[in-house]
Point group: D2
Chain length 138, copies 4
C-alpha cells in the first residue's frame, strides 16, 4: 500500500539545461533521487546515516515518462512516495510538477545491499529503519 506523497521543491540549475533550451532528460533521475533522499530524511533517518551503517540502496530499475520539459530557473516540486517495501527491497513512485502540472513521472526499484554489494536484510541489519518504513507506509 503506497505511502502518502512527500513533496520537496528545487530550482532548476543552469547546468541542468541543454542546447534544446530545456532540462537534459537524465537529470530527472537525479531529481527522483533527491526526492527519495528527502523522503527518507523525513522518515527520521537521513540516507547519509544509513550509508554510515554500511547499507547501500542502489537502483535496480527505473522508468520515466516525460510530459513537458522543465526549464531554467523553474521551481519544480518533486512528489515521492514509497510504493512497496520488504525486508530486502524498496520501491518509490515519483512525480515532477510545476504549478500543479505534471512534467514527468516514474518509479525506481531498489535492493538493500551491504558494502560488498551483497543483499542485506534490513529487518536484521537495521531494524529501527525497517520500523520507520513500516510506520511511514502505514
Amino acid at each position: 500500500m503506497p505511502s502518502p506523497w512527500f513533496t520537496h521543491e528545487l530550482k532548476v540549475r543552469y547546468q541542468e539545461t541543454d542546447q534544446m533550451g530545456v532540462v537534459y532528460h537524465a537529470n530527472y533521475l537525479n531529481w527522483f533521487e533527491i526526492g527519495r533522499t528527502e523522503l527518507i530524511r523525513e522518515l527520521g533517518m537521513p540516507y547519509r546515516s544509513i550509508e554510515a551503517k554500511g547499507l547501500l540502496l542502489p537502483v535496480i530499475e527505473a522508468d520515466i515518462r516525460f510530459v513537458k520539459p522543465a526549464r531554467y530557473d523553474d521551481t519544480v516540486t518533486i512528489r515521492t512516495r514509497v510504493e512497496q517495501y520488504t525486508n530486502i527491497r524498496l520501491s518509490f513512485s515519483c512525480e515532477i510538477c510545476r504549478d500543479g502540472e505534471t512534467l514527468a513521472s516514474g518509479g525506481t526499484r531498489h535492493v538493500w545491499v551491504n558494502r560488498d554489494w551483497k543483499p542485506a536484510r534490513i529487518d536484521k541489519e537495521a531494524p529501527e529503519l525497517y520500523e520507520l518504513l513500516k510506520k511511514w507506509s502505514g
Copy 2:
C-alpha cells in the same frame, strides 16, 4: 522489426562515479543517448545536422534495468538498435556491456518535434532521414 545492433565504446569518467565507488545511475541514460547519437551518425546523418534542420528528438519515455555497476576507467560497450520507427516516432533499445557481460539494459522512446516543440512528420520534413531509417531498419 528491430535494426541490427550498433556498438560504441567509451571509458568511464571519474566525474561519473559517486561515493558508492560506482557509476551514478543517471549517467547510464547519458550513455544511452551517446549510443543513439553514434547510431544516427552511422546511419549517415549526424544528429547535429538534424537539429540544424529544425528537428528535435526529445525522449518521451525511458526505462532501465541495472544489473552490475560500471566502475571508473572501465571500458564499456554501448549496444544500440532502432526498435521501431514511424514518421512521427522512434524507439531504441540499449545495452551497456563490459567484457561481454551486460551491466544495464533498457530503452527510450522519442517523438519528432520542430523548434516550437510541435510534432513533426519526418517523411515530409526530412524525407532523406526517413529513407535512411527505413534502409537501416531493413
Copy 3:
C-alpha cells in the same frame, strides 16, 4: 569597490560526489554560478529575464582554491559578491563555506554579450540592470 557578500545555502547532492567520497571538484564552479544567479536575483532582475532580453554573461576566466572537501548531504553556504563591474564586464568573488569554515574560494570574470556573442554595452542595452549593479555595489 566590492559589494557586500550575498549568501545562499544548498545541500550537497549524491550525484555531486565521486569515488573519493567527496564532491567532485568541477561542481564548485557550478555552485559559484548558483551563487551569482542568486545574487543577481536579489539585485532585482533574475538572470532568466536578462537572457530573455538577449543578453548573456559567459565566463571568461575562473580560478579556485580548494581547502577542504565538501561531502554528501553537507549544507554548504555560498558567499558571493560583485568584485568589479563596468558597462561591458563583471567579476565576482565566491566562497564555499561549511559551519563557518571555508572549503573553497575563487572568482569568475565575465563579459556581457548579445545573442550573437558580440560584446554588449549594458548601460545602453539594459540601463536598468546597469543601475541595479551600481546601486548594489554602492
Copy 4:
C-alpha cells in the same frame, strides 16, 4: 621544466551543452581531468592503479581562461603537460583546442594524499611512480 604536451581527443556530449547552445563552463575542468588521466596512463601507470595503492591526487587549485565556446559534437583536443612536480606536489597545464584553435587554457595544482587525506610522499610510498614522473618530465 615542463614535460612535452600529451594530446587526447574527445567528442562533445549533448549533456555537456547548456541553453546558451555551448558547453557549460564547468565541464572544461572535467576535460582537464580527463587530459591528465590520459597523460598519467601514457606515463605507464593508470590513475586507477594509483588509487588502488591508496594514493589520491586531489586538486588544490585550478584556473582557466575561456576564449571561444566549444559546441555539441565538436571534436576537441585536450593538450596536457606536467608543469612541475616534487615528491608531494604535481601541477599540470592544459589547453582545449578545436581545429588548431585554442578554446580554453589553464592549469591545476595537486597534492598527493593517502586515504585519510594526509599528505603522502610519493618518492617513499610509490617510488616507481616518482621515477615515471621524472622520466616523463625529462
